[in-house]
Amino acid sequence: MTKKGIKRLAGKVGGIKNLILIPLAALWLLTLLLDIFVVEKIFDPLGYLYIAIGIVALLYVVWPLYTGRRLVQYYWQRVKRNRLAVAGLAFILFLILLALIGPLFTPDPTAANFEEKNMPPVGFSIEESVYKAETGQFITKTTSGSWEHPLGTDDKGRDLLAMIISGAGVSLQVGLLATGIAVALGTLIGVVSAYLGGKVDNILMRLTDIMMTFPFFLLLVFIIFIFGPSLAFIVLVIGLTGWTGTARLIRSETLSLRTREFILAAKALGASDGRIVLAHLIPNVVSLIVVIATLSIPGVILAEAALSFIGLGDPSVTSWGMILRAGQQSLDITWWVAVMPGVMLFLTVLAFNFVGDGLRDAFDPRSSV
């Protein structure tokens, strides 16, 4: 095909990015259908989510960031002035590194070792009464923390640092993937609803109302109870139920954009609905999407942690909620097991909140950051 032909085709679907996206999405769907109906296990379920989110992120986040380097630099200057946002960003990067590199240096987080159970973190020591078989008496034994297990061990002798690092990976995966699904779905529904208006808008907004009527966490508990917990499924369910807030915000933003001159001009020049939505409306709500996404990650991470905490998490992975659950059950002896995962959850949520607030201020031209 000639260069001109590609360009014309790209124009039809709203830009070259969508032209690349469509065959890739088709390929992804084909593999998924093959996986379900013909052969089994081409990728595992989380793999599909990663590929899908990866493609979308590459085309719609990395590419625009690269082509718009000067704009990015401008916004970075503005974000940089907010010290809390920078600190939050640094913590998130640290967490990503921890989740990627940490498992190489720590023991298996699921390996129980009853010889070394109930060891406190470095710098702490506890006294517990231990039954001595030789004398038949209880004696008081003092255990101090050692550098072998910097954060101590739980009541089954599992290394807490290794568990925390494994939990960081779980929380980040859930946070990024589920938010990716929720925000993509919310944006699509919001833009379509506002742009098409009328009956479509009415139906989509009633659907949003229905979804919003279920208390979010109770709906999650309900679905996981019926279908059973696995990490990929939890990510999918959070993604498929958590889009309502995004849809409403994007809808109201699009409603105000829809009547602006550049949209009318595009219409007058004969642009198709698809092109207007993909090439004109969505790029103009991108900064809002980024802020919503950053600020929804904490809720998603907390939802997964809460699910694991009440025992509805994926039993095959060590997540922060699950560690907290184990810690709560032996609170009188191994208090540190309950403290550490909560501190990490708290810091992670705080970091994303700081970054989200910083981004919102940076994107707002009226604010004088």
């Binding site: 009633r206 659907l207 109302d209 229905i210 919003m212 009527t213 279920f214 208390p215 979010f216 966490f217 109770l218 709906l219 508990v221 309900f222 679905i223 109870f225 019926i226 279908f227 059973g228 904490p298 907390l302 942690a305 809460a306 905490f309 009440i310 025992g311 509805l312 907290l324 810690g327 709560q328 609170l331 009188d332 208090w335 309950a338 403290v339 995962p341 909560g342 959850l345 708290f346 949520v349 705080l350 909140n353 700081f354």
Partner: protein, 325 residues
């Protein structure tokens, strides 16, 4: 003119509420039916683990749930039963679900009511003060703590409160005692930790909302006018700024009930062993008691629906500026 408009508005909202209620029921029904195991399976495995003969129960269950009927008939049955107040049978507690809920709702209600009232009162007061003294030391401290408050996971806060006040200091019992009468000081005392657990995040949120709503209104022209004509600052803040800021705040508080507070109360009840609806649903999950989990999910959704409807109607009545698109 305004009267008929209000009537039309209420009718329209009622119509939407009916559609939403239908959607909630349908989604719940479909989720249960799409699930990998039917309620009957779970019931039978439960019987089998208790050493009873499952085959005897099959006919009874099929008649009870009508599971042999076609899907649309089951759907109509399900709707009909719910509308007639038949919410199913809880086999793990051997009583009708509706009776179970009648016994336990009060525990959730007292927790949510106390937390909401306290969080709203304290949050709004701090928010007003923070906005009036913008950029003062108090404002910075309040902003800092409200940031911490909204970021702290409430289930972790609950566990930490138990660790500190119950395990280490021994000030409170670690578990909620149902033998204490509801309207007594002892009951209030044992609700302190749960209310702090549930209320902290809410309070932090309300502080932030109030502060920004107050600041928005403080910059308005009518405030400048009020000050220019020499009204005392108290009147300006109390009558002109706060009255304009408080209505959206009420909507937010009501909306939070459904989106945040119910989930938070669910977790708080589990941590402190308060036998409210959250704890009942939690127990039912691990006993595979379908009817209870379905009923509590539905009830919470209907409560949200009702609260939203009531808020919208009250809002339209109170605020003449509102127009529904």
């Amino acid at each position: 003119m305004r009267k008929t408009w209000l009537r039309d508005y209420i009718l329209k909202r009622l119509f939407y509420a009916v559609i939403i209620a239908w959607g909630v029921l349908t989604i719940t029904f479909l989720l249960v039916r799409l699930g990998p195991s039917s309620p009957a399976d779970k019931y039978l495995t439960n019987l089998a683990t208790r050493g009873e003969d499952p085959t005897q129960a099959i006919a009874a269950i099929e008649a009870r749930y009508g599971l042999d009927a076609p899907l649309y008939e089951q759907y109509l049955d399900y709707m009909g039963n719910l509308l007639q107040g038949d919410w199913g049978w809880s086999f793990s507690t051997s009583m009708p679900v509706i009776e179970l809920i009648k016994v336990h709702w009060i525990y959730s209600f007292q927790l949510i009511l106390l937390s909401t009232i306290l969080a709203a009162l304290i949050g709004i007061l701090i928010g007003i003060y923070s906005a009036v003294r913008q950029y003062s030391k108090t404002d910075y401290i309040a902003t800092f703590f409200s940031f911490i408050g909204i970021s702290i996971p409430n289930f972790w806060l609950g566990v930490m409160l138990i660790l500190l006040f119950s395990v280490q200091l021994g000030l409170f019992k670690t578990y909620y005692d149902t033998s204490i009468p509801l309207l007594s000081l002892a009951n209030l005392k044992q609700l302190i930790l749960p209310v702090v657990t549930l209320g902290t995040g809410m309070m932090a949120g309300y502080t932030r909302y109030t502060r920004s709503a107050m600041l928005d209104n403080l910059r308005k022209d009518f405030v400048r006018t009020a000050r220019a004509k020499g009204l005392p600052e108290r009147t300006v803040i109390g009558k002109h700024v706060f009255r304009n800021a408080v209505l959206p705040l009420v909507t937010i508080i009501m909306f939070d009930l459904g989106s945040i507070v119910f989930g938070g109360a669910y977790l708080t009840e589990i941590i402190f062993g308060i036998p409210g609806l959250g704890r009942i649903s939690f127990n039912a999950i691990f006993a595979d008691d379908y009817a209870v989990v379905v009923a509590i999910t539905l009830i919470s959704a209907f409560l949200v629906l009702f609260i939203n409807l009531a808020t919208d109607v009250a809002y339209a009545y109170l605020d003449p500026r509102i127009r529904y698109d």
